[in-house]
Symmetry: C3
Subunit: 115 residues, 3 copies
Protein backbone atom coordinates (compact mmCIF):
# COMPACT_ATOMS: atom_id res chain seq x y z
CA UNK A 1 0.00 0.00 0.00
CA UNK A 2 1.14 3.52 -0.77
CA UNK A 3 -0.20 6.94 -0.02
CA UNK A 4 -0.25 9.28 -2.98
CA UNK A 5 -0.47 12.99 -2.20
CA UNK A 6 -0.99 15.29 -5.16
CA UNK A 7 -0.96 19.08 -4.89
CA UNK A 8 -2.70 20.33 -8.01
CA UNK A 9 -4.24 23.49 -9.53
CA UNK A 10 -7.84 24.08 -8.44
CA UNK A 11 -8.76 24.52 -12.10
CA UNK A 12 -7.64 20.97 -12.83
CA UNK A 13 -9.50 19.27 -10.00
CA UNK A 14 -12.60 18.20 -11.96
CA UNK A 15 -10.48 16.69 -14.77
CA UNK A 16 -8.29 14.82 -12.31
CA UNK A 17 -11.34 13.56 -10.44
CA UNK A 18 -12.90 12.17 -13.61
CA UNK A 19 -9.62 10.54 -14.61
CA UNK A 20 -9.28 8.83 -11.23
CA UNK A 21 -12.85 7.52 -11.34
CA UNK A 22 -12.36 6.28 -14.92
CA UNK A 23 -9.09 4.61 -13.93
CA UNK A 24 -11.21 2.59 -11.49
CA UNK A 25 -9.34 4.02 -8.53
CA UNK A 26 -10.76 3.56 -5.08
CA UNK A 27 -11.91 6.47 -2.95
CA UNK A 28 -9.84 9.58 -2.55
CA UNK A 29 -9.95 12.48 -0.11
CA UNK A 30 -9.12 16.13 -0.75
CA UNK A 31 -8.87 19.50 0.95
CA UNK A 32 -7.65 23.03 0.29
CA UNK A 33 -4.02 23.95 0.94
CA UNK A 34 -1.94 27.05 0.37
CA UNK A 35 1.57 27.11 -1.00
CA UNK A 36 4.45 29.45 -0.31
CA UNK A 37 7.80 29.49 -2.08
CA UNK A 38 10.37 31.46 -3.92
CA UNK A 39 8.81 31.71 -7.33
CA UNK A 40 11.04 30.58 -10.12
CA UNK A 41 9.71 33.25 -12.45
CA UNK A 42 10.54 36.14 -10.16
CA UNK A 43 14.06 34.94 -9.70
CA UNK A 44 14.74 34.73 -13.42
CA UNK A 45 13.39 38.13 -14.36
CA UNK A 46 13.95 40.25 -11.30
CA UNK A 47 16.76 38.67 -9.32
CA UNK A 48 16.36 37.57 -5.73
CA UNK A 49 12.83 38.80 -5.11
CA UNK A 50 10.70 36.61 -2.87
CA UNK A 51 7.06 36.20 -3.60
CA UNK A 52 5.81 35.85 -0.06
CA UNK A 53 2.11 35.69 -0.86
CA UNK A 54 0.47 32.29 -1.07
CA UNK A 55 -1.13 30.39 -3.91
CA UNK A 56 -4.18 28.14 -3.56
CA UNK A 57 -4.04 24.49 -4.46
CA UNK A 58 -6.00 21.32 -3.78
CA UNK A 59 -4.37 18.43 -1.95
CA UNK A 60 -5.62 15.03 -3.07
CA UNK A 61 -4.83 12.08 -0.81
CA UNK A 62 -5.41 8.51 -1.74
CA UNK A 63 -4.11 5.23 -0.43
CA UNK A 64 -3.87 2.57 -3.10
CA UNK A 65 -2.64 -0.96 -3.43
CA UNK A 66 0.90 -1.19 -4.87
CA UNK A 67 -0.49 -2.47 -8.17
CA UNK A 68 -2.36 0.83 -8.66
CA UNK A 69 0.42 3.32 -7.89
CA UNK A 70 1.70 4.00 -11.39
CA UNK A 71 -1.77 4.02 -12.90
CA UNK A 72 -2.83 6.62 -10.37
CA UNK A 73 0.24 8.79 -10.86
CA UNK A 74 -0.20 8.73 -14.63
CA UNK A 75 -3.90 9.60 -14.39
CA UNK A 76 -3.03 12.62 -12.26
CA UNK A 77 -0.15 13.82 -14.43
CA UNK A 78 -2.20 13.42 -17.63
CA UNK A 79 -4.91 15.75 -16.38
CA UNK A 80 -3.05 18.12 -14.04
CA UNK A 81 -0.23 19.00 -16.44
CA UNK A 82 -0.43 22.26 -18.36
CA UNK A 83 3.31 22.63 -18.99
CA UNK A 84 3.28 26.02 -17.26
CA UNK A 85 5.21 26.74 -14.06
CA UNK A 86 3.13 25.80 -11.03
CA UNK A 87 1.48 22.51 -12.08
CA UNK A 88 2.21 21.00 -8.67
CA UNK A 89 3.75 17.91 -7.15
CA UNK A 90 2.99 14.32 -6.33
CA UNK A 91 4.51 12.58 -3.29
CA UNK A 92 4.51 8.82 -2.70
CA UNK A 93 4.86 7.58 0.88
CA UNK A 94 4.71 4.15 2.54
CA UNK A 95 1.60 2.89 4.33
CA UNK A 96 1.90 0.04 6.80
CA UNK A 97 -1.75 -0.84 7.25
CA UNK A 98 -5.27 0.18 6.28
CA UNK A 99 -8.46 -0.61 8.16
CA UNK A 100 -12.05 -0.43 6.91
CA UNK A 101 -13.91 0.84 9.97
CA UNK A 102 -17.25 -0.78 9.02
CA UNK A 103 -15.85 -4.33 8.95
CA UNK A 104 -12.53 -4.12 10.73
CA UNK A 105 -10.84 -5.60 7.63
CA UNK A 106 -7.14 -4.82 7.44
CA UNK A 107 -4.55 -4.70 4.66
CA UNK A 108 -5.08 -4.69 0.90
CA UNK A 109 -8.59 -6.15 1.18
CA UNK A 110 -9.70 -3.05 3.07
CA UNK A 111 -8.86 -0.96 -0.01
CA UNK A 112 -10.60 -3.19 -2.47
CA UNK A 113 -14.23 -2.69 -3.43
CA UNK A 114 -15.42 -6.15 -4.38
CA UNK A 115 -17.40 -5.80 -7.59
CA UNK B 1 6.25 5.93 16.45
CA UNK B 2 3.38 5.66 14.00
CA UNK B 3 1.02 8.14 12.43
CA UNK B 4 -2.61 7.14 12.54
CA UNK B 5 -4.92 8.87 10.09
CA UNK B 6 -8.61 8.21 10.53
CA UNK B 7 -11.26 9.47 8.12
CA UNK B 8 -14.55 9.32 10.03
CA UNK B 9 -18.15 10.53 9.87
CA UNK B 10 -18.64 14.04 11.25
CA UNK B 11 -21.48 12.71 13.39
CA UNK B 12 -19.06 10.37 15.17
CA UNK B 13 -16.39 12.94 15.94
CA UNK B 14 -17.45 13.79 19.49
CA UNK B 15 -17.68 10.12 20.47
CA UNK B 16 -14.28 9.34 18.99
CA UNK B 17 -12.78 12.37 20.72
CA UNK B 18 -14.07 11.25 24.11
CA UNK B 19 -12.82 7.71 23.53
CA UNK B 20 -9.33 8.94 22.65
CA UNK B 21 -9.15 11.16 25.72
CA UNK B 22 -10.40 8.32 27.93
CA UNK B 23 -7.86 5.94 26.39
CA UNK B 24 -5.24 8.36 27.71
CA UNK B 25 -4.06 9.13 24.19
CA UNK B 26 -1.81 12.10 23.65
CA UNK B 27 -2.86 15.08 21.55
CA UNK B 28 -4.50 14.68 18.19
CA UNK B 29 -5.14 17.06 15.31
CA UNK B 30 -8.08 17.14 12.92
CA UNK B 31 -9.46 18.97 9.92
CA UNK B 32 -12.27 18.72 7.39
CA UNK B 33 -11.81 16.67 4.23
CA UNK B 34 -14.07 15.69 1.37
CA UNK B 35 -14.27 12.27 -0.18
CA UNK B 36 -15.01 11.19 -3.74
CA UNK B 37 -15.49 7.66 -4.98
CA UNK B 38 -17.58 5.24 -6.90
CA UNK B 39 -20.24 4.36 -4.41
CA UNK B 40 -20.63 0.68 -3.82
CA UNK B 41 -24.40 1.01 -3.52
CA UNK B 42 -24.87 2.67 -6.85
CA UNK B 43 -22.86 0.06 -8.65
CA UNK B 44 -24.82 -2.83 -7.22
CA UNK B 45 -28.28 -1.45 -7.89
CA UNK B 46 -27.88 0.67 -10.98
CA UNK B 47 -24.81 -0.58 -12.81
CA UNK B 48 -21.86 1.64 -13.65
CA UNK B 49 -23.20 4.94 -12.35
CA UNK B 50 -20.63 7.21 -10.75
CA UNK B 51 -21.54 9.29 -7.77
CA UNK B 52 -19.36 12.28 -8.54
CA UNK B 53 -20.51 14.48 -5.68
CA UNK B 54 -18.43 14.60 -2.55
CA UNK B 55 -19.12 13.54 1.01
CA UNK B 56 -17.84 15.36 4.09
CA UNK B 57 -15.65 13.65 6.62
CA UNK B 58 -13.25 14.57 9.41
CA UNK B 59 -9.59 13.58 9.17
CA UNK B 60 -8.03 12.84 12.55
CA UNK B 61 -4.24 12.70 12.67
CA UNK B 62 -2.28 11.51 15.63
CA UNK B 63 1.26 10.33 16.12
CA UNK B 64 1.60 7.78 18.89
CA UNK B 65 4.25 5.58 20.39
CA UNK B 66 4.23 2.02 19.00
CA UNK B 67 2.80 0.75 22.29
CA UNK B 68 -0.33 2.84 21.75
CA UNK B 69 -1.14 1.98 18.12
CA UNK B 70 -3.62 -0.86 18.67
CA UNK B 71 -5.30 0.86 21.60
CA UNK B 72 -5.84 3.94 19.47
CA UNK B 73 -7.14 1.98 16.48
CA UNK B 74 -9.59 0.08 18.69
CA UNK B 75 -10.84 3.26 20.37
CA UNK B 76 -11.56 4.78 16.95
CA UNK B 77 -13.24 1.67 15.51
CA UNK B 78 -15.40 1.22 18.64
CA UNK B 79 -16.88 4.67 18.33
CA UNK B 80 -16.79 5.37 14.58
CA UNK B 81 -18.39 2.10 13.48
CA UNK B 82 -22.09 2.10 12.63
CA UNK B 83 -22.01 -0.96 10.38
CA UNK B 84 -23.45 1.08 7.50
CA UNK B 85 -21.56 1.72 4.26
CA UNK B 86 -19.35 4.79 4.61
CA UNK B 87 -17.90 4.42 8.12
CA UNK B 88 -14.46 5.44 6.87
CA UNK B 89 -10.89 4.25 6.99
CA UNK B 90 -7.84 4.23 9.20
CA UNK B 91 -4.32 4.35 7.77
CA UNK B 92 -1.12 3.59 9.69
CA UNK B 93 2.15 5.07 8.43
CA UNK B 94 5.72 5.13 9.72
CA UNK B 95 7.18 8.14 11.54
CA UNK B 96 10.94 8.52 11.81
CA UNK B 97 11.13 11.26 14.39
CA UNK B 98 9.04 13.63 16.47
CA UNK B 99 10.19 16.90 18.03
CA UNK B 100 8.55 18.91 20.82
CA UNK B 101 9.17 22.49 19.70
CA UNK B 102 9.10 23.94 23.22
CA UNK B 103 11.99 21.80 24.51
CA UNK B 104 13.64 20.42 21.39
CA UNK B 105 13.11 16.89 22.76
CA UNK B 106 13.14 14.21 20.06
CA UNK B 107 11.82 10.68 19.76
CA UNK B 108 9.32 8.86 21.97
CA UNK B 109 9.86 11.22 24.91
CA UNK B 110 8.52 14.10 22.82
CA UNK B 111 5.19 12.27 22.58
CA UNK B 112 4.95 11.49 26.23
CA UNK B 113 3.20 13.80 28.66
CA UNK B 114 4.93 13.21 31.96
CA UNK B 115 2.25 12.93 34.59
CA UNK C 1 13.54 12.68 0.75
CA UNK C 2 11.61 13.34 3.93
CA UNK C 3 8.30 14.92 4.71
CA UNK C 4 8.38 17.41 7.55
CA UNK C 5 5.07 18.22 9.20
CA UNK C 6 5.09 21.05 11.70
CA UNK C 7 2.08 22.00 13.82
CA UNK C 8 2.74 25.54 15.00
CA UNK C 9 1.02 28.51 16.65
CA UNK C 10 -0.83 30.74 14.18
CA UNK C 11 0.94 33.73 15.68
CA UNK C 12 4.30 32.27 14.66
CA UNK C 13 3.43 31.47 11.05
CA UNK C 14 4.84 34.63 9.45
CA UNK C 15 8.15 34.28 11.30
CA UNK C 16 8.47 30.61 10.36
CA UNK C 17 7.61 31.40 6.75
CA UNK C 18 10.35 34.05 6.52
CA UNK C 19 12.86 31.71 8.15
CA UNK C 20 12.09 28.93 5.65
CA UNK C 21 12.43 31.26 2.68
CA UNK C 22 15.69 32.65 4.06
CA UNK C 23 16.98 29.14 4.65
CA UNK C 24 16.56 28.66 0.89
CA UNK C 25 14.00 25.93 1.46
CA UNK C 26 11.89 24.80 -1.45
CA UNK C 27 8.12 25.25 -1.53
CA UNK C 28 5.96 24.41 1.43
CA UNK C 29 2.22 23.90 1.85
CA UNK C 30 0.05 24.74 4.83
CA UNK C 31 -3.50 24.55 6.12
CA UNK C 32 -5.48 25.09 9.31
CA UNK C 33 -5.87 22.27 11.82
CA UNK C 34 -7.42 21.99 15.25
CA UNK C 35 -5.90 20.20 18.19
CA UNK C 36 -7.50 18.34 21.08
CA UNK C 37 -5.75 16.92 24.10
CA UNK C 38 -5.59 16.67 27.81
CA UNK C 39 -3.93 19.92 28.67
CA UNK C 40 -0.92 19.59 30.88
CA UNK C 41 -1.75 22.81 32.70
CA UNK C 42 -5.22 21.75 33.74
CA UNK C 43 -3.96 18.49 35.10
CA UNK C 44 -1.38 20.13 37.28
CA UNK C 45 -3.61 22.80 38.78
CA UNK C 46 -7.02 21.23 38.88
CA UNK C 47 -6.54 17.49 38.86
CA UNK C 48 -7.97 15.26 36.18
CA UNK C 49 -10.00 17.83 34.30
CA UNK C 50 -10.10 17.41 30.54
CA UNK C 51 -10.04 20.45 28.34
CA UNK C 52 -12.20 19.10 25.54
CA UNK C 53 -12.32 22.29 23.50
CA UNK C 54 -9.96 22.62 20.57
CA UNK C 55 -7.06 24.92 19.88
CA UNK C 56 -6.19 26.33 16.45
CA UNK C 57 -2.86 25.65 14.85
CA UNK C 58 -1.30 25.77 11.38
CA UNK C 59 0.03 22.59 9.80
CA UNK C 60 3.03 23.19 7.57
CA UNK C 61 3.99 20.37 5.21
CA UNK C 62 7.15 20.28 3.20
CA UNK C 63 9.05 17.57 1.43
CA UNK C 64 12.78 18.19 1.34
CA UNK C 65 15.89 16.42 0.23
CA UNK C 66 17.67 14.54 3.05
CA UNK C 67 20.42 17.16 3.06
CA UNK C 68 17.88 19.83 4.07
CA UNK C 69 16.08 18.04 6.90
CA UNK C 70 18.03 19.38 9.87
CA UNK C 71 18.27 22.88 8.44
CA UNK C 72 14.52 22.95 8.03
CA UNK C 73 13.81 21.58 11.51
CA UNK C 74 16.14 24.15 13.08
CA UNK C 75 14.58 27.04 11.13
CA UNK C 76 11.15 26.01 12.38
CA UNK C 77 12.20 25.50 16.01
CA UNK C 78 14.09 28.81 16.07
CA UNK C 79 11.01 30.79 15.11
CA UNK C 80 8.13 28.72 16.51
CA UNK C 81 9.55 28.30 20.01
CA UNK C 82 8.27 30.57 22.78
CA UNK C 83 9.13 28.26 25.67
CA UNK C 84 5.51 28.27 26.80
CA UNK C 85 3.35 25.14 26.84
CA UNK C 86 1.73 24.60 23.45
CA UNK C 87 4.52 25.47 20.99
CA UNK C 88 3.66 22.45 18.85
CA UNK C 89 5.33 19.47 17.26
CA UNK C 90 7.36 18.48 14.24
CA UNK C 91 7.07 15.03 12.68
CA UNK C 92 9.51 13.54 10.16
CA UNK C 93 8.26 10.79 7.85
CA UNK C 94 9.76 8.88 4.91
CA UNK C 95 8.95 9.79 1.30
CA UNK C 96 9.59 7.22 -1.42
CA UNK C 97 9.23 9.41 -4.48
CA UNK C 98 8.37 12.92 -5.61
CA UNK C 99 7.15 13.95 -9.07
CA UNK C 100 7.08 17.43 -10.63
CA UNK C 101 3.82 17.38 -12.57
CA UNK C 102 4.96 19.93 -15.18
CA UNK C 103 7.95 17.88 -16.34
CA UNK C 104 7.34 14.40 -15.01
CA UNK C 105 10.75 14.54 -13.26
CA UNK C 106 11.03 12.13 -10.34
CA UNK C 107 13.21 11.88 -7.27
CA UNK C 108 15.47 14.51 -5.71
CA UNK C 109 15.68 16.54 -8.92
CA UNK C 110 11.94 17.18 -8.74
CA UNK C 111 12.48 19.01 -5.45
CA UNK C 112 15.36 21.09 -6.65
CA UNK C 113 14.83 24.51 -8.18
CA UNK C 114 17.76 24.95 -10.54
CA UNK C 115 19.13 28.41 -9.97
N1 LIG D 1 8.56 20.41 -1.53
C1 LIG D 1 7.29 20.75 -1.33
N2 LIG D 1 6.72 20.50 -0.14
C2 LIG D 1 5.43 20.82 0.08
N3 LIG D 1 4.65 21.40 -0.83
C3 LIG D 1 5.16 21.67 -2.03
C4 LIG D 1 6.50 21.36 -2.34
N4 LIG D 1 6.72 21.74 -3.60
C5 LIG D 1 5.60 22.25 -4.05
N5 LIG D 1 4.64 22.23 -3.12
C6 LIG D 1 3.26 22.68 -3.27
O1 LIG D 1 2.92 22.58 -4.64
C7 LIG D 1 2.45 23.82 -5.13
C8 LIG D 1 2.86 24.00 -6.57
O2 LIG D 1 4.23 23.87 -6.69
P1 LIG D 1 4.91 24.05 -8.11
O3 LIG D 1 4.05 23.42 -9.15
O4 LIG D 1 5.28 25.48 -8.37
O5 LIG D 1 6.19 23.20 -7.95
P2 LIG D 1 7.52 23.41 -8.71
O6 LIG D 1 8.41 22.30 -8.32
O7 LIG D 1 7.99 24.83 -8.50
O8 LIG D 1 7.15 23.18 -10.25
P3 LIG D 1 7.31 24.18 -11.45
O9 LIG D 1 8.78 24.23 -11.76
O10 LIG D 1 6.52 23.57 -12.54
O11 LIG D 1 6.73 25.47 -10.99
C9 LIG D 1 3.04 24.84 -4.19
O12 LIG D 1 2.16 25.92 -4.09
C10 LIG D 1 3.07 24.11 -2.88
O13 LIG D 1 1.79 24.21 -2.25
N1 LIG E 1 -8.19 4.70 -0.33
C1 LIG E 1 -8.57 5.87 0.17
N2 LIG E 1 -7.75 6.92 0.09
C2 LIG E 1 -8.11 8.11 0.60
N3 LIG E 1 -9.27 8.34 1.20
C3 LIG E 1 -10.13 7.33 1.30
C4 LIG E 1 -9.83 6.05 0.81
N4 LIG E 1 -10.88 5.25 1.07
C5 LIG E 1 -11.78 5.98 1.71
N5 LIG E 1 -11.36 7.24 1.85
C6 LIG E 1 -12.08 8.31 2.51
O1 LIG E 1 -12.94 7.74 3.49
C7 LIG E 1 -14.27 8.17 3.27
C8 LIG E 1 -15.24 7.07 3.64
O2 LIG E 1 -14.94 5.93 2.90
P1 LIG E 1 -15.83 4.64 3.08
O3 LIG E 1 -16.19 4.50 4.50
O4 LIG E 1 -16.98 4.67 2.11
O5 LIG E 1 -14.82 3.53 2.70
P2 LIG E 1 -15.23 2.14 2.12
O6 LIG E 1 -13.96 1.38 2.02
O7 LIG E 1 -16.04 2.34 0.87
O8 LIG E 1 -16.08 1.47 3.26
P3 LIG E 1 -17.56 0.92 3.16
O9 LIG E 1 -17.50 -0.34 2.34
O10 LIG E 1 -17.96 0.69 4.58
O11 LIG E 1 -18.36 2.02 2.51
C9 LIG E 1 -14.31 8.59 1.84
O12 LIG E 1 -15.23 9.61 1.67
C10 LIG E 1 -12.93 9.12 1.59
O13 LIG E 1 -12.86 10.48 2.01
N1 LIG F 1 0.90 13.31 18.98
C1 LIG F 1 0.27 14.23 18.26
N2 LIG F 1 -0.41 13.87 17.16
C2 LIG F 1 -1.05 14.80 16.41
N3 LIG F 1 -1.06 16.10 16.71
C3 LIG F 1 -0.40 16.50 17.79
C4 LIG F 1 0.28 15.60 18.61
N4 LIG F 1 0.83 16.30 19.62
C5 LIG F 1 0.52 17.57 19.43
N5 LIG F 1 -0.25 17.71 18.35
C6 LIG F 1 -0.78 18.97 17.82
O1 LIG F 1 0.09 20.01 18.22
C7 LIG F 1 -0.63 21.03 18.91
C8 LIG F 1 0.22 21.63 19.99
O2 LIG F 1 0.67 20.63 20.85
P1 LIG F 1 1.55 21.03 22.08
O3 LIG F 1 2.50 22.09 21.67
O4 LIG F 1 0.70 21.32 23.28
O5 LIG F 1 2.37 19.72 22.32
P2 LIG F 1 2.94 19.26 23.67
O6 LIG F 1 3.72 18.02 23.38
O7 LIG F 1 1.84 19.20 24.69
O8 LIG F 1 4.01 20.38 24.06
P3 LIG F 1 4.05 21.27 25.35
O9 LIG F 1 4.49 20.37 26.47
O10 LIG F 1 5.03 22.32 25.04
O11 LIG F 1 2.67 21.81 25.51
C9 LIG F 1 -1.86 20.33 19.41
O12 LIG F 1 -2.91 21.22 19.44
C10 LIG F 1 -2.14 19.29 18.34
O13 LIG F 1 -2.87 19.89 17.26
MG1 LIG G 1 6.93 26.46 -9.15
MG1 LIG H 1 -17.88 3.21 0.92
MG1 LIG I 1 0.83 20.87 25.32
Amino acid sequence: MKKIEAIIRKTKFEDVKEALLEADIEWFSYYDVRGVGKTHEERIYRGVVYDTSYIERIMIILVVRDVNVERTVQAIINKAQTGEIGDGRIFITPVEDSIRIRTGERGDISLYDVK
